[in-house]
Amino acid sequence: MGAFFNTLPGAVAQGMIWGIMAIGVYISYKILDIADLTVDGSICTGACVCAVMVVAGVPVWLAMLAAVLAGAAAGVLTGLLHTALGIPSILAGILTQLILYSVNLAILGGKSLVSLAGNREDLLLSMSNNPAAILVAAISVAVLVVALWLFFYTEVGLTLKSTGDNPDMSRAQGVNVKRNKVLGLAIANGIVALAGALLAQYKGSANINDGRGAIVIGLAAIFIGLSVSLKIKPNFVVSLIGVVGGGIVYYIIYSVVILIGLKTDYLKMLSAIIVVLFLAVPYLKGEFFTKRKPVSLPTNPGGDDHA
């Protein structure tokens, strides 16, 4: 038990950082209705850009800004592959992810790892000081959630929501659906890259393999988080906070599994199993446990049936 409490602060800090990434995934997956596989690459891009620039002596805030912009550019690329060239969104994401592997290697100067060990005093957070790392991550989450909350209630933000919710309706109301998809993917991957930049600082390095399977961790955080937050209050801010909470829960499960002694080789599989469970259980429940009751659509509670 003692060992568990020792690992808890680290799990919370990492979970929050991955929760920020999950907010990015939430925007593409839940709001735009696109399963965007760019994130596996763009989180690594964020880490690489930030690490290389900090090592080069650039102020950390500028390095993080550059990381966010690089992530946004990756999102734009996926968006354009999808909307301008007609490539299915899931394939567009895979293609960008592959492109980013080469780009990330180039950013790291051909090495597979860039260490920040010599730049400790420049960094915003580090795994050697978990309470401070949690504080930095929490402030980042708070700023991000408020910014997104404001944005998604602007004229532009509302059309971004409608683009994912009903593209036919959006076009009929004069919304440029293609441009909105590109914009949304840029925002989503910018946020993912921000998480990458924080992660590189926390771990003290950027590795070319960072981010492999990130999309699955993001989805796991979303499903874990929404399973609770939708029951509390189904609104935007609560959902975003829930998603970050989902990231934390995911990392606590992760650290418990390591403590139990599961080989770390199996952790990617574990992430996948969590996602499978969260997707399969509601489906199977619907298949097997609602046979008696006719499936009732949520139409018109307390309204007039004959409009």
């Binding site: 532009v156 919710d165 109301q173 440029n176 309204g303 004959h306």
Partner: protein, 265 residues
């Protein structure tokens, strides 16, 4: 107001499934006209409306709205001229967004969307009074997700969205076909009220012969991508369903056939 000239559209050209939906279609509609459109299976009614709305480009021909050639204008750009209601009640509204948010998006149709509050308190007051006029009790449910509404309620909201910013042309694509008769009647009444109130130029496809005669000031029947019957004014008002079917048979050389059209009241 609307000028469609020599419009042609063939789907799957050059294949065994080639289907000419519009075959040199001409139509002029004057400002303030309320035109009902009726026709059998595959007559090209929906193709016509989708061509006007810009869902796809015609193979040949031009479309002018209020003197502007929109033939090559993308769908979201020409939306500023149009109000649209679809056959599928699910298609016209965003289900996961509030009624007020849906109306907000529609109210800014054709304007440049900015980074300012997208649905203000003043907007909400305005929507409340507009919704009250529908008589469905929706004015107290501004913050409800549209997905919670019934099909008829959603069509009524879509109608309000289509007309909240006065369109040059209102396009109604069998917008009551998916509703039960009583609800359909109600939605049609709302339609007529909005059209009259805002003096809207309207093109309404319907599957109901009686409605086609009862509503609007001009009626066209389509057959194989052409207009075969075009009556208006007093002639249309006095028309009976049987007379209409006779006219159709004479003009098209075949009996009216459709598995969907409701011939009697």
């Amino acid at each position: 107001m609307l000028k469609v000239t020599n419009l042609q559209k063939t789907f799957n050209p050059g294949t065994i499934n080639a289907k000419t939906a519009l075959n040199g279609f001409d139509l002029h509609i004057a400002e303030g006209d309320f035109v009902t459109v009726i026709g059998g299976n595959g007559a090209g009614k929906s193709t016509l409306l989708n061509a006007i709305a810009g869902v796809w480009k015609p193979d040949y021909g031009t479309i002018e709205i209020d003197g502007v050639d929109v033939t090559n204008m993308p769908e979201h750009k020409r939306a500023k001229f149009l109000g649209r209601v679809f056959q599928d009640p699910m298609k016209g509204t965003a289900p996961d967004m509030e009624i007020a948010e849906n109306l907000s998006i529609a109210a800014r149709r054709g304007t440049k969307r900015r980074l300012v509050w997208g649905c203000t308190r003043k907007d909400r007051e305005n929507y409340r009074s507009l919704l009250a006029q529908l008589g469905l009790g929706l004015e107290d449910r501004l913050s409800s997700k549209v997905g919670l509404l019934s099909g008829g309620q959603r069509q009524a909201v879509t109608l309000l969205m289509a007309t909240i910013r006065k369109p040059k042309i209102l396009l109604l694509d069998e917008h009551t076909a998916a509703l039960d008769p009583k609800t359909a009647d109600n939605v049609l009444k709302i339609t007529e009220k909005l059209v009259t109130e805002h003096k809207l130029t309207t093109l309404m496809i319907t599957h109901n012969m009686h409605d086609a005669i009862a509503y609007g000031n001009r009626l066209i029947m389509m057959h194989e991508g052409m207009v075969v019957v075009d009556v208006s004014g007093q002639e249309k008002k006095r028309m009976t369903i049987n007379q209409l079917l006779d006219l159709f048979e004479k003009a098209s050389g075949s009996a009216f056939s459709s598995d969907k059209v409701i011939l009697s009241k």
